[in-house]
Every structure is written in C-alpha cells, then in structure tokens.
Amino acid sequence: MTSGQGLVANLVVRRSEGFNLDINLSIRPGSTAALLGPNGSGKSTTVDALAGIIAIDAGRIELDGRVLDDAQAGIYEPSENRRVGVVFQRYLLFDHLDVIDNIAFGPAASGRRRREARAIAHKWIDALDLGELAHRHPDQLSGGQAQRVALARALATAPDLLLLDEPLAALDIATRTRLRQTLASHLEDFAGPRLMITHDPADAFLLADQVHILEDGRISQTGTPDDIRRRPATPYVAALAGLNLLTGSNAAGTLTLDDHPQKLQSANTHTAGRVLITIAPNAIALHTQQPHGSPRNAWQTSIATIEPLGEITRVTLDRPVPLSVDITPGARESMGLIQGTEIWASVKATEIHLNPA
C-alpha cells in the first residue's frame, strides 16, 4: 500500500441497530471506483464517513497522504477541511441562490472575494455548458441540469476526492442513459480519485474502472467491470449481471449441484472440485417438445414466471434447477408461452462456465 496519492481508507462504523460497516477502499488519482450494493448495504454510511458527516469507530481515512480520520490516533477533520467534493443524491442545491452563486458558494466559503469566487464559478459554468442557466434558481432546473450544477459546485472547490452519491438515481430512465455518457466525460476531466456510490449496475459497469460490491456492510467482491460480470462471486452480483449462478462440484465435466438434484454436463473438465457455475440467460434454449439431436443438458420443466422487459422477455424456471432465461417476444408468441406451460429447456455444455469456488 503506497501512501501519498489518492484515497486509502479502512472504514469501520458500528450502528446502534447492530449494523456494522467494515470496508477497505483504495482509489488512485484519475481512476473511478464504484461502490455497488443494495439498499441497506452501507452505502450512505460510507458517504457520510468519507464526507466527514459521521466519524468512523475504527480504521483510518487517508487522502493524498493527509489523514482525515483516524479513530485510534484521535484525528478527525471536519467536513469543511476535508477537500472531499460531494454530489449528493438529491443534489441539495441552495434554493435561495441562483446557479452561479451555488457554484461560487464553495470558493466564497473558503475565504475568496466575491468577484474571485464568481470568476471561478464562471469557469465551471463554461466547462459544464451551463451558460444559459447561470441566473436560474434550482427550482427552475430539470433533474439533469441540477445534476450538472451539483457537479460544478463540487468541482469548483478543487477537491482532492470526488464523491458521487447515486448521481443518476433522481433522473428518469431516458435521461439517465443520456446523462451517463455526459457524466463519464466529466469524470475523465477530474484528475483526482473518484468514488461513485450506486445501486444501479449500469452506472457501475459503464462508469467505473474498478467495482466494489457492498453487501451487508462488507465488500464481497472487487474487480474490473468485466471480472465482475464474468465471474460473479455471490448470487447478488450474478443477479445484477443478469447471470444464473449455481454452486456445486465438478468431476471430469459432470457437475453435481449443491441444492438441486439435476446433474449438468460442462465442457470444462479441468476445473475440478468446488466450483461456481455461471450460465448466461440467453444461452438457455426453450423447446415445446423434447429437443432433437443430443444436447447434453436437457430437461423437462414448466414456466414459473414470464415477464416482458422491453426487447427481451425474461422467463424463470424453478425445477429441477432455478434459472432465468431470456427469449425474444417473437419466440414467446410462436411457442404460446404462459405461466405454467410445460416445456423443455436445454443448454450446451460449452455454455456452462466454471470458476473455482
């Protein structure tokens, strides 16, 4: 662990309700980390601890070699001295100030003259293309505009760490997709370490270099978006990545599942012993009759649920193996699938991927 550059943090926070957060984060300057987790996993607590809204109970937070919080050493820098720029989930723009004064707030609060603070704000207004909005008040902004103003306000303080708390969650779906691209390019322009807190896998996978999965106050997996997608370590991650995840053991290509009677055949014969088994939902085929030829994995089952998801239709099967299957709406139509339809499922042995457990 090299000190001096970027964020190095070990956060331990004990909450009265018995919830404990205990995580390690290390983010280099110029890289974006995502902390991805479900509600109640400790995301807000992490934001509060890094921003200096709460003190950690144990551990240490170091930013570019400065100690922001160290429970053992009794060091605690308050928010205003941390140089941690935060884009809050609800943006929290000041309603009594117009856009330019919102952005100038940070520079002015740190002792700059009004004119100087305004000049800095103007620089960020240009950088984020907010010129037309400079004299509007926050209640006259759309969600996307408010997000850019919040980003400009955080960046105008020249922070050493940029913290984005669910930066896209307040937007509708269409805006979210469009603004994700814009946000990506703005993040590129910030030279320090960036940490994005999110519950949306799309944010994490598309914007981050490194993804940390947070579950129940612990980081359950860390890796590049590709690592995480291909080799999910927990059912939560697999579900996020849209993958089916099973556990079992492999003996020369024959898989014995932990919780289900069905045996599966994999083309992978060399990863022996305990394995994590992943199957992509689009690798599973459905048939109205027993499939011809000889797919090595085929079994009869019935449809537990069927749900249209835009361009695909998601089918779930619950016996003998619980699996999610993606089919086209056309296939659903032609096979006349509804809940309870008796059907055959098949998977090629080459589509069953194994990783050592």
């Binding site: 205003e80 720029g85 935060v86 009594h96 002015a108 609060a109």
Partner: protein
Amino acid sequence: MNESTGPRRVRESAPWPLVVLGIIGVALFVVPLLGLATRTPWGDLTELITSDVVADALRLSLVTSLLATAISLVLGVPLAWLLARVEFPGRNVVRAVVTLPMVLPPVVGGAALLFAFGRRGLVGEPLNEATGLLLPFSIWGAVLANTFVAMPFLVITVEGALSGLDPHFERAAATLGASRLTVFRRVTLPMIAPSLVAGAVLTWARALGEFGATVTFAGNLQGRTQTLPLAVFVALESNRDAAVAISLVLVAVSLTVLIGLRDRWWART
C-alpha cells in the same frame, strides 16, 4: 349541460350548533371593534391623532418597539439556534423560562424587572453606582420591558423553523468548505428567512401593544416612557375622544400586520 369546468363541488352542510357557537365566537371580537368605531369622533380624528400627546406616544411606541425587535433578533436568533441544535442539560428548563413571559401577567414581569434593574435592584443598584444609569423611567426601561415581553415570540418562531429545517443542506455546505458560522450565515439564515420575518413582525406587534410591564417598570412619563397603550389608558380618564383615536391607530396597525402575515404564520403546517 353543466357549464362549470372544474370538478363538481358538493356542498357539505355544517352542523347548526357549530355554526351558532362559531358566530357567537366571532361576535366576541367584532362587537368591541364596532363599539370603538361608533364612539369615534370621525370629524376631529386628524386633529386628535396629530396632537402633542398622541404624536409623542406614537413616536415613542415606534422607537421602543423597533428597538425591542432589533434586540430580540440579535439575542433571540442565537438563543433559538442553541435551543434547537445543542443538547445541553436543562434545555427544557431554559425553554420554559424563555417562554414564560408569554403566559406571565405583564405586570408581574414589570415588577420582576423593577427588583432586578430598579434603583435598589439586584443589577440596577451596582449599575447605577458605576455608571449613573437608571433604567426605570427612561426610554431604555421601556425598551427593556418591551423586549422582555415580546422576545419569546421571536424565539419560539425561529426555533420551530430551525427544528424543521432539513439538515442535509447544512451538511452539503460544510463539504463545500464552509465553517459552521458561514453555514449559519449563508445557508441556515436564508433558509429560515420567512420564519425570521414572521417572528420579527409578531415580536414587533407584541412590543407595540405592551402595557403592563412598561407601566410597572418604566412608568408613565409623556415623551419618555408613555407609549401608545399607556396614552390610551391615561386619555380614558381625561379625554375619551383622544383615547378612541389612539385605540383606532393601534387596531389599524395590528390588523394590517396580522393580515399581512396570514400566509406566513397562520397557514403553516
């Protein structure tokens, strides 16, 4: 065909006992005002209001009530902040003491002020010996009496607003590098501005109408401590027409303030 465009409104009939009692309740307030209006010498009104006694009292009332409001703002806002934000032992006792003048008979307040700040008072005696300053029977006595009675209105209004404020905005300001004092000045105060205005106006209105504490503590000297309510009281004995005229001025000022405030204060959740 139904010509109205909005949703059809169904009139809910009010139970008659409530209507009757409600009307009697309103009459309780309206009849005295009518009594005042019928006794008003409308022809001589301008002359009465501009007489020396009334002009002195009006000027004194404005000066003392505005000074009391200013002092209440300077001392009351920090006090409200402490009550709303800092947990200290005895906070509830302090809150009770601060709001006590709202329920205490003002005469009792005036007597208490006399024992504290009078010529032989706890603080008044050493103060008089050291500086020669004597609060009773001076304009500052009237200001002190006004502040004592009126400041609680500011404190409870502002404390309520501070307690209801979303703390996330202040935290956001801190992450932008603002010290706690800067946060208070540039975020907290602007966000509670409507309540601050409402509290200040109520405080001023209460100070303007103050009688009991002023007459007990500061006395009744024309041009020095005789405010409008005191002038009314004196005039009732000697010059009824003048008393009515001054009363009318007070009613007009108070009604204007209350109607102006109705959205800000009465309609609050």
